[in-house]
Every structure is written in structure tokens, then in C-alpha cells.
């Protein structure tokens, strides 16, 4: 795996910023009571989605989690239709039927956020089966959390992917918590990657705050998958800066502010921007401009959503069957 080109670095940066700004504003909207239901934000974990998705095209598939906006954005999701979905509007990606926990876009190869922890990996295995069945070189990436790694569905999916040598990549976003339960209280292991050998696939651990590290490790795993050598379990050590649901970052009772502050020092976007600056790829000023530009896009997305019509009640019974 070569070092990422400048173009790739800028691309990764852009994806991360898009996630950060979208999520931050989405959090605001939720706090303002404009987004109903449960909102699981991805802030802090941007390097994972961005580093992986930089390798994928619309023809590659991903499955996501309850914390799914970041994956969709990194896969090319547009702010306007995303916000429209979170706002429950008819113009949303799911016509207002899915909301945050089911946001999806088939054209972008995004097989949905998922309200069921652990439900994604078996579906990704199905998508990988599909691309292999048709002899394409497309892959399927399944994102899931440290908590989800304890669901039996993950186990079954991992075993099947290895058995059939499917072009699947299992990306564990280990943010140290399943809801309010720290990893040490939900599994006796430290590295989820240790589970890989039990399925007969490589397990790789990577710093999930370092977008380049994620990019490189994901690249190797995806390359392996595309060449028919089967799946990889890629564990990205990361952290969520906000609460499990909604925004509040500090003052949570299940983790310390110190812990958060330690992780925030390694903010994936700050670290990446320092690096880009150092490399002369993107100056601080230009980075700031990108944030501003994205913020404008986000605001336009919110405006689109707010001015979009609510679903017609008549559509309730549509989309149940093809």
C-alpha cells in the first residue's frame, strides 16, 4: 500500500469535515427540538468512516449502525436529503419513514443505518456474496461497534465470510463503550481484533483517530478482499466525543471528563490538519475555509429540510411491498 497522494489526503479531510460539521449541527437541531427520536452522533470517530470510504465507490456496499450519519456522509450522502430525513420530511432519503436510525441510500451503496445492534454484519456478508456471485471486484464493508462484537450475529457473519472467502471487511469502531457500559464490563478482552483468528481471518488493529493509518489499513484489507483472499477484521480504536445519544460530552457519569479530554487531544481532524499543514498539503487557513464552506452547505441542507413538506399521511401504507 502506497502512501496516500495529496489528492487522497484532501479527499479524506473533506469527508471528515463534512461529518464533523453535519453532526455538530444535527446535534444542535436535536437540542432545539427540531429532530425527534434518537440521534447517535459520530463526532470523534470521523477518521474511521473517512479513511475507509476513501477506497470505495458507489458500487461497493456498506452496512452501518445506529450511529450511521458519518458512514453515509463519507459514502457520498448529501446534506439536504439527510437533514430532510432526520427532520422527518417527505424529501428525505427514506421519505421520512426511516429517520436517523435507518438513513440509507441504495444508489450510494449504503445499506442503511440500523437500529439493531449487530444486524449489519450478516447483511454485509450477503452483499459480499452478491458481488462475488457476479464476479465483480466490489467489496462490502460492515461497520459495527465494540458492543456489537458481542452479538451472535457478528460471529455468524464473520465465520461465513471467512468460510466463503468473501470480499467483506469487518470494521470494528471500538470507542470503548456500548451505550454507558465500558468495554471492560462487556468483554474480557481488550482487542476485538483478537477474535479474527477464531474465524480464520487476519485481525488488524489501527489507531482510529489517525485517518492515514485507517486509510492504509483499510486499503490493505480492501485490496485483499478485491483480490479474492477473503475478509479482514479491522479494529479501529476510537472515541465518541458526544454522549451515546445526543450531544452532551462533558459531565457524563459513566466516563470521566479527563478521559474525554485525553481523547480530544487526539481529535482526528485536528491531528490530520496539523499533518496536512506540515506536509504543505493544506494550510490552516485553507482548512478553515473548508470548514466554512461545509458549514454553509450544512446550513443550506437544514434550510432545505425545514422548507420541505412533511410526508403526506397517505404515504403511510406505501413502500411496505414492492
Amino acid at each position: 500500500m502506497d502512501q496516500p497522494t495529496d489528492e487522497v489526503l484532501l479527499d479524506i479531510h473533506r469527508r471528515m469535515v463534512r461529518i464533523r460539521v453535519f453532526e455538530t449541527e444535527a446535534g444542535r437541531m436535536a437540542e432545539a427540538g427540531k429532530i425527534p427520536g434518537a440521534l447517535h452522533l459520530y463526532v470523534g470517530e470521523e477518521a474511521v468512516a473517512a479513511g475507509v470510504m476513501a477506497h470505495l465507490s458507489d458500487d461497493d456496499w456498506i452496512t452501518s449502525t445506529h450511529r450511521g450519519h458519518g458512514h453515509l456522509i463519507a459514502k457520498g450522502g448529501e446534506f439536504d436529503r439527510m437533514f430532510a430525513e432526520l427532520f422527518g420530511r417527505a424529501t428525505g432519503y427514506c421519505r421520512g419513514k426511516g429517520g436517523s436510525m435507518h438513513i440509507s441510500n441504495m444508489d450510494l451503496g449504503m445499506l442503511g443505518a440500523n437500529g439493531i445492534v449487530g444486524a449489519g454484519p450478516p447483511i454485509a456478508v450477503g452483499a459480499a456474496f452478491s458481488t462475488k456471485f457476479r464476479n465483480t471486484d466490489r467489496v462490502a464493508v460492515s461497520f459495527f461497534g465494540d458492543g456489537a462484537s458481542n452479538e451472535g450475529s457478528f460471529h455468524e457473519a464473520a465465520n461465513m465470510a471467512a468460510l466463503y472467502k468473501l470480499p467483506a471487511i469487518f470494521v470494528c469502531e471500538n470507542n470503548g463503550y456500548g451505550e454507558y457500559t465500558p468495554q471492560a464490563n462487556h468483554q474480557a478482552i481488550v482487542d476485538v481484533a483478537d477474535r479474527a483468528s477464531g474465524y480464520g481471518m487476519p485481525g488488524v488493529i489501527v489507531d482510529g483517530m489517525d485517518a492515514v493509518a485507517v486509510y492504509e489499513a483499510a486499503g490493505a484489507a480492501i485490496e485483499r478482499a478485491r483480490s479474492g483472499d477473503g475478509p479482514t477484521l479491522l479494529e479501529c480504536k476510537t472515541y465518541r466525543f458526544f454522549d451515546h445519544v445526543g450531544v452532551r460530552g462533558m459531565g457524563l457519569s459513566y466516563r470521566t471528563d479527563e478521559e474525554l479530554e485525553e481523547w480530544q487531544k487526539r481529535d482526528p481532524i485536528h491531528m490530520f490538519e496539523a499533518r496536512l499543514d506540515e506536509l504543505g498539503v493544506l494550510s490552516r487557513d485553507d482548512a478553515a475555509k473548508i470548514h466554512e464552506g461545509v458549514l454553509e452547505e450544512v446550513r443550506a441542507g437544514i434550510e432545505f429540510a425545514e422548507s420541505s413538506p412533511l410526508p403526506d399521511p397517505e404515504t403511510l401504507l406505501e413502500d411496505v411491498y414492492a
Binding site: 427520536g37 420530511r89 419513514k97 439493531i116 403511510l316 411496505v320
Partner: protein
Amino acid sequence: MAEAAQREITYVGAIAEGARTILNEQEGAFIAGEDVAGAGGVFGSYRGLLDEFGSDRIVDTPISEEGIVGLGVGAAATGLRPIIDIMFMDFMGECMDEIANQMAKMRYMFGGSAKLPITVVTMSGAGMNMAAQHSQSLEVWLCHLPGLKVVTPATPYDAKGMLIAAARDDNPVFVVMNKLSLRNQGPVPEEAYEVPIGAAEVVRAGDDLTFVSYSRMVSEAVKAAEALSADGIEAEVIDLKSLQPMDTDTVIESVQKTHRAVVVHEAVRFAGLGGEIAAQIQELAFDDLDAPVARVGAPFSPVPFSSVLEQTYLPNADKIAAEARQLLGM
């Protein structure tokens, strides 16, 4: 008790009180589930219990529903009295084998030699924009399984009393709570009491028709009854409370008086428990009926996210009243 009953607490607080009662009373009782300990339950149902009873008895689990229910089955069969929390009823999909094929059947398959005093607490219902996978009312899956009991508290009083009754029962009992009721206030005695499993209650008297309901829809049926009352129609409202076993007698007695019945639940109407109830009513009170037994339930779609759709989806007082009016030819 009259005075104690004046005290009002929330439905979610009543769950905690019921749990506390059982933990104090039964040394083999423990609570296990996702985030029940450190977080006190994501709905707050078990707040404070970890401090009071310690981590041996209030047990956070991994996200492993099948493992959790299996743990409950094994612990119950070997002499403990587990209270297992399945956060959302929708997650039963992850553990239906341990529920349907182990918990419900073990005693029978073993020819009666095993006893399974296990209580499962879970949350049903829509109305919070939680969309298709966090809003379901799947009680019919459970009611169809011999070996299980199923209760559905509609009030804080019942939440506490039925949880206590369930945990004292030597059989697997599902206590299906309702998440939109969590903040409801109601009178709840401080002392321990049971709301008996298998007994329905007439919560509003009336002569003109009978609403048969359970869980949150009871209050919607009462609202519908009040609206009808303005038109001179007095509806009797029955809260079934216990779905398995079901107190059919109370229902039939009412229908023999009112000659008309509307069965109301939040679950999808098709193949919901309402079919069973309606079928039983016409089986047992055919000659008393002046009109077909009507049913109000959710339409045949997953639960949608957007409020406008979700409210269209949900049964409510207006829809119940409209069904009643149609039944009465109004």
C-alpha cells in the same frame, strides 16, 4: 392503604419500586440486562438499585440478548429468580429461541421436573419517533407460546404490582411495559402488593358498548369513552392487564350487558391478539351480540419515523370513538 395510595409516582418509578421490593424479598432474585446497573436502565427503570444491592445482583450484560435470556433460563432452572431486562421488545428477534424453545418449553419437555421462576421486563409501543425497530408491540408472539405468561401494565400502580406478581410467580412471566407511559404519574402504595396475573379490570362502567384493551391503549379507550359520553353513549372499558392467562369471563360478562364490543390494541391489527379476543367474544357471547366485534389496531405497515406518519399509524381515542360510532350506526 387509602392514604398510601394517595402518593403519586411515575410509571418508571413504579417499576423500580417493584424491582426493589422483589430484591429485598427474594434472596435469589437478581436483575440482568444491558445497562441496567451502572446506568440504572436506559429508561431509568432500575435507578439506584446498583448502589443498594451491588453488582452481584444488578448485572450489566454485554449486548447479547440470546446470551442474556439464556443466562436467565439457566439461572432460573438452577434455583435463582432472575429478572431479565430486554430493553426494547423489538430486540426479542435476537433471543426468540431462548424465549420460545427453551424458557417456554423446558418445564414441559422435562416432564415437569424443572421450574422456571423468571421474569422478563421489556418495553413496547410507538409514539416517540423511534421508527420501525424500536416501536413494536409484538405481544402476540409471546401469547401464542404455551409455557409463558404475559402481562401488560397500563398504570404506575399496575407496573409495580404486576412486576411483583410476576417475580413471585414460579413461571416465566413477561412484563411488557409501555415506553410512552414512563412519565405518567399515578397513585402507588409504598408497601408491597400484587396485581394478580390473570384478572382483568373494568376501569370504566358503561352499558352501551365494551372496549376491551390493554397497555397504553386503555387510556385512549377511556378518552374515547369520555368523548362518546358527550353523545350519551356510555362505554364500559376493560383493561385486560394479563394477556396470558386471559380473563375472558370479565369480558364476556360485560359484553352480555352491552351487546357490543370493540377490541383495541396498539399492535398491528392483522394477526394481532385482537383477533383472539374478538374470536372468543363471538364464540362465547354470540347470541348477546347486536353487532360484530370490532377491532382497532395499527395498520399493516412497519412503524414510520416522521411524526405525521407515526400519528397516522397509531390507534388513538379518535379512531376508537369513530369505530364505536360506526358500530352503533351513528
